[in-house]
Symmetry: C2
Subunit: 190 residues, 2 copies
């Protein structure tokens, strides 16, 4: 198994070499080029993906036809479209590579089987979900308590790596702001 994933897992749970070996058999690696899609609107999402290296964005088109970025994924993040994956319905969202991206794919079809063989995996994903939930709840807190300018400053302070890797207009979209406004705030900061 890729050392990044082993290290990631060990941040959440204790796991044996044998358990890792079994987990490994359920994963296969995948590479997508910049601008390629991992999932398109209307398709069924059938896997969870661990990003070894790269960056993807999860987005949809809002009622006015504007791209709205829901969130990003970068190195050492799990990413998937839960609504499609869990409810087995067509995805309303797209997952697209922002950079050339190297992933590990964990197909959902065998996920329950894996959890029965290696119950610690169930715990791992329960804990990942809890952390993810804490993060998204904080995001809502910031949306409501900070001004647009404060949100942008906070984002670049908290995620300096994104600022390098992701075009500014995508950060604007993620933060629900117009690119023009971000440009104005940026000019003010310098």
């Amino acid at each position: 198994m890729h050392p990044n994933l082993i290290e990631y897992i060990k941040r959440y749970v204790s796991i044996t070499e044998a358990e890792i070996a079994i987990f490994q058999t359920y994963l296969h690696s995948k590479k997508i080029k910049k601008k390629e899609f991992l999932l398109k609107e209307g398709q069924f999402c059938k896997s969870r993906y661990f990003i070894i290296k790269g960056c993807v964005r999860l987005f949809h088109f809002d009622n006015k036809g504007n791209e709205q970025i829901i969130h990003f994924g970068i190195d050492n993040w799990w990413i998937t479209e839960y609504e499609s994956l869990i409810n087995q319905i067509p995805s309303q969202l797209n997952i697209q590579a922002v950079e050339n991206t190297e992933l590990l794919e964990l197909p959902e079809a065998y996920f329950d089987e894996l959890c029965e063989k290696v119950p610690i995996i169930e715990r791992l994903f329960r804990k990942i979900m809890e952390k993810t939930y804490i993060a998204i709840q904080k995001r809502i807190e910031y949306i409501y308590s900070l001004s647009g300018e404060e949100q942008f400053r906070f984002f670049i302070d908290a995620n300096p790596e994104f600022t390098q890797r992701v075009p500014q207009y995508m950060i604007a979209s993620y933060l629900g702001m117009s690119p023009e406004f971000v440009s104005k705030v940026k000019a003010k900061i310098k």
Copy 2:
């Protein structure tokens, strides 16, 4: 075990009578009166709570000293403050009863033990978290794609029971709007 919780569990996983019986031994019932606190800022959150009947709100005070409601919990919802519970840090949020509320308390101290005895519980909570995550991600989608007026209309259409049970200014706070604005929109609807 309370029939509401049994029914709730069965929506997510298959569970035997024996497993329910074990789960039961980890729960104790609790009642809080309207305006009483389940958790106060600064305290450590040590349990997950299942609401049998009633309504609570999870809120904090923002930088301007305004109450900001993060979310509500009503009948047949699990509620807790995950950041405090998982990271074992003092809570930044309050949980307060909006109505007299009847709960089942599941202490976190024995949660891992319970999951080892009854592994299906780990799966149950993993699945609950996934559903919860889908819901909160949709909330972010609506925040960014709907106008304030649309968000309010959508909320009351999707949650007519809340409109009856929760004061209007709390719904305003949950939606990140001023009570005056909600009042204006409501007048427009009639």
